[in-house]
Amino acid sequence: MAAFFEPKYLFTIVLLGTIVWITQATRKYATSTVDYWVGGRSFGWLMNGSAIAGDYLSAATFLGLAGLTFGLGYDGLFYTFCFSIGLTLLSLFVAGPLRRFGAFTVPDFLGQRFHSPRARLVAVVVVLSISGFYAAPQLLGAASILKMFFGTSYQFGIIFTAVVMVFYVGVGGMKGTTINQALEIWIRFLAFIVMVLMAIYFGMNYGKVLELITQWAGPIPNTAQFAKDAKDIVFEGAKYEYTGAMFKNLSGTLSMVIGLAFGTIGLPHILLRFYTNPSAKDARYSALFAIGVASTFFILALYLGTVGRYVFLDGAQNGTLSPETMKAMATGGINMIVPALAEALGGKWLLGFVIAGAFAAIFSNLSGLFIASSGALGHDLYTHFINPNSSDTQRVWAGKVSVLICGVIYGILGLLVEKASIGHLVGLAFNVAASTFAPIFILGIWWRGMTEKGAIAGLLAGLLSSLLLIFFPEIMPKALQFKIPGVFTVPLGFLAVYIVSLLDGQVPSDVNEFMKKVHAKELAS
């Protein structure tokens, strides 16, 4: 029983209790389709901007980016740099017009732009693919964190997280999900702010930190006990501060930039957040606010990753780190760096807060994925194909049942990917999104000549080429085998839409009205 008074239990229980309270308090707002799917389109830029940031900054960013910087140095920074681009491109080309379009889901865009059930159906398949590839590693991360900090089994972690998500999204709908997401991003942000202030308080400015790291060359004392060959781990500071650890050539680096930058434009759980604002102006400011939060978050994460490396080297040299922290930093993997640094800087209380922050990251990101994929099932499949004459109440219930179905499917996927690489699966989700929905939304919003056949061709070309080049990279020459093959698949997606549309030439007769709807100045209410 005394264990439950440990900070990690206290903070996690408070977080879960708050989620339950918010979900219960907002369930009365989840009774009509417009409330359930888009929160009554009532969220201003502050709330929606926070929720977009919460959706975007997953556990992989909260724990992983600092961990990558700790492990890889400059290439960890560069990986983060790639993630920082997409929201800005989204705000430039898509955010405002998408809100003017004002539907419920991502497939709605294709269904209504081309009056095409076929295009909607293909879009449903792509949404489910992207969300599945993204949700599985998030569940894997959740189960790993539960296992690491609370000693639960992998299977328990998957089932527990899926159950929390089904309750959170199924009961609260978009209203409850958005408020929870907004709260959760600020928990993570506060955790990072406290850690940064503690690091500054201990005098770890960038100059001092980088001086020790970059001048280090050779073994790290007292680390032999953690190494497989029983020799002290060797660290080369000169390599740490420049590219080469992860990115091996320029073409692979540029492919990663393209894949991750365009990926954000096509992520269904981010796109549909712009439907929840009351106006296009709010949508633009929501995107701007989310970019501000995310950019600051990235700067803090990269600083903390570098501080982590300094603490490890300095602590090993002077024997000031506890054996647990030494072990976590030497062998715990990238996800252990932020928690280990939190414990080194602020003891068990800061560690407990960071663990709650990690759960907040998982829940907010996963809930967005649940909303997006359950929308594809409950709104696009049920309302448009299975029961077109359904009542509003039936449609809301279809949404809730879809959340349950997603929970079961994602739970099974989570159980299947225990040994998979989180980075590989997330990269796959980004690459598919970049090669499918990014061309569709950019060309669909700005080019009247796009046709239904062009849209379907673009979705299929982007999806299939991404799967092929990620799962079977050996079909390409060695020099062109990339982890994120966006440099090939993104242009292919754009070209497929463009060329097939030109060959087809048959556009919807009301395309001018569509363009007027998404681009005309907003009218007074």
Binding site: R41, A103, I291, P388, K516
Partner: protein
């Protein structure tokens, strides 16, 4: 099979025979796209410039500039994040300046329950 706006038999027209857009909409689209396009060109020069210079001009990118950071460390970990926000802020500011004066917003009381 499908309802509402998903009408598989909806009329189509050849792109060549499509009536031109209303001049006001066409002008808005051209201006809005122009703002986004040129801001993204400026942004991509930076985004692609960093990795290209990393691989082609390592001596320059390793130059120490501030706080013990090399030029590339500063550009990648701080400047890139600031620029992501500045580009988006410029876009919103220019758009609002050009088109925002005609836009009125629903009051807080009217927001709830807005549906399209």
């Amino acid at each position: 099979m499908a309802n509402g706006t998903d009408n598989a038999g909806a009329a189509k027209v050849s792109y060549k025979d499509l009536a031109p857009l209303e001049s006001e909409i066409s002008e808005i689209m051209k201006t809005e796209f122009g703002i986004s396009f040129w801001l993204s060109v400026a942004y991509f020069i930076f985004i692609l410039g960093v990795p290209i210079l990393n691989w082609t001009a390592p001596a320059l990118m390793k130059t120490r500039i501030w706080g013990g950071m090399s030029l590339t460390w500063f550009l990648t970990s701080i400047m890139a994040m600031v620029l992501a926000f500045v580009i988006a802020w410029l876009h919103v500011s220019i758009y609002q300046k050009k088109f925002g004066s005609d836009i009125e917003h629903p009051s807080a009381g009217q927001r709830k329950g807005v549906s399209h």
